[in-house]
């Protein structure tokens, strides 16, 4: 081939519009379109958002960067035009505003919960296609993988407490959502899709519980090793910690389940 055309071909393929930018521009176009089109539904959703969702630094940053459409995108569900803005832009920018490893890990737990929350809402609204279900599952999976690898990182650094805090939050969140998924009225059209997603959630619950079991055995043995001579003292203090943690877990789990029953919001995810 003529070398000139080869060069053109290289450039043709490499010069691309970034997917996140594409979504961002689309968000702005939708906002632009809405400015001329006062449809009642868009107004209601934004009003609901104001009432229930706490604003925090990450979302604020995303909104400042992305404008009104990114704000409106927070309520988007898979299949909505603004959904790509939510997951491709808002969530990425927010992630950058979580600085510590703990904060980042907690954010991933929130995002995994948010994916399950979206499924719950979507399933009660309309039919979820097989392809959509696969997309939702793979997004959820990728958050779950990130959570697990962050837990491992904490473990390797010897920070068992942090590892278990994240693991227990994730476990509580998964269980709360599993319960919710079981309670919604799916109807025949979404029965198999929701069932498959529940299977995925159940399997993650199994994973995270065994991770926690591993962490617990590690923390017990390391406390023993640390306090050598004062074995009696060590065992009571370990027991004390375990009791305290169980209570914390119960509170968290109760809190998660209680607010999980509240429509439209979830304690385990912040918007």
């Amino acid at each position: 081939m003529d070398p000139l055309f080869e060069k053109f071909n290289i450039l043709k393929k490499k010069i691309k519009l970034d997917a996140d930018k594409k979504a961002l521009i689309k968000g702005r176009l939708l906002q632009y379109m809405d400015a001329f089109d006062f449809s009642p539904t868009s107004g209601n959703r934004i009003a609901r958002f104001f009432r229930f969702a706490p604003v925090y630094a990450g979302v604020l940053a995303a909104v400042i960067a992305g404008g009104g459409a990114s704000f409106a995108a927070q309520l988007a569900l898979p299949g909505d035009a603004l959904y790509p803005v939510k997951v491709g832009f808002n969530e990425k920018i927010s992630a950058a505003f979580h600085f510590s490893p703990e904060a980042k890990a907690n954010y991933e737990v929130d995002l995994a919960a948010r994916r399950l929350e979206e499924v719950t809402q979507l399933a009660s609204q309309r039919k979820i296609s097989g392809e959509e279900k696969n997309d939702i599952e793979s997004r959820f999976q990728s958050h779950a993988e990130k959570i697990k690898s962050k837990i491992q990182e904490f473990e390797h650094k010897g920070n068992i407490r942090a590892a278990d805090t994240i693991a227990s939050r994730f476990e509580a969140s998964l269980k709360a959502h599993e319960k919710k998924l079981g309670e919604i009225n799916v109807g025949d059209e979404n029965e198999s899709e929701v069932a498959e997603i529940k299977v995925g959630v159940r399997s993650e619950i199994g994973n995270i519980m065994s991770v926690r079991a591993g962490l617990r055995s590690k923390s017990v043995s390391s406390s023993f090793i640390e306090s050598g001579d004062r074995e009696v003292g060590a065992s009571t203090s370990v027991k004390g910690k375990a009791d305290e943690k169980n209570k914390q877990d119960d509170d968290r789990r109760d809190g998660a389940i209680k607010s999980g029953d509240r429509e439209g919001t979830t304690a385990t995810s912040t918007y």
Partner: protein
């Protein structure tokens, strides 16, 4: 503004935004400006639809709007050599995800240098033909010229580019 209109418009965006971006990039050699032009192009398209006007060939229409926006742009800016534009622009910076596409950048620089010897309308028609892969008939529609005229201009511009490319 019916929902079908909205849906069709958004489908057009999904289908053509990437191409319009690429086209604009090769005209202005700036990522940021090209992104803005995509947005401006589709805003104008939406206005057109909203005003009740019908669009037969959306793809060609999008290119035409973009072309005119770029012409407006160049009228506002004072004449500037491509070299100076290269200095200023973000075209040759590493892409957003941090990967340095060395080969692409070298290639881009080569093409830009050769294009510098061409007139605006020659660059435009070569971009439409060889970057956007549009055939002369579509190009004619976009530029508002005859198909014959388009073919002639393409060949002339290509010949000129090849001459400067060899050097």
């Amino acid at each position: 503004m019916s929902n079908t209109q909205k849906k069709k418009f958004l489908e057009a965006y999904d289908a053509y935004a990437d191409a319009i971006y690429r086209y604009c990039f090769f005209r202005v050699f700036s990522r940021a400006r090209a992104e803005e032009l995509v947005q401006e192009t589709f805003m104008k398209i939406w206005q057109y639809i909203r005003d009740g006007k019908k669009v037969d060939n959306m793809r060609a229409f999008a290119y035409r709007i973009a072309t005119n926006l770029i012409i407006d742009d160049s009228r506002k800016k004072k004449e500037q050599s491509l070299d100076a534009a290269l200095e200023e622009s973000d075209a040759l910076e590493p892409s957003y995800d941090g990967r340095r596409e060395i080969e692409t950048q070298a290639t881009l620089k080569e093409i830009m240098r050769a294009m510098e010897y061409l007139e605006e309308d020659e660059r435009r028609i070569l971009t439409l033909r060889y970057i956007e892969d549009l055939d002369p008939k579509d190009i004619a529609e976009i530029l508002g010229i005859s198909a014959n005229s388009a073919s002639v201009q393409i060949n002339r511009a290509l010949g000129k580019l090849k001459k400067h490319f060899k050097n």
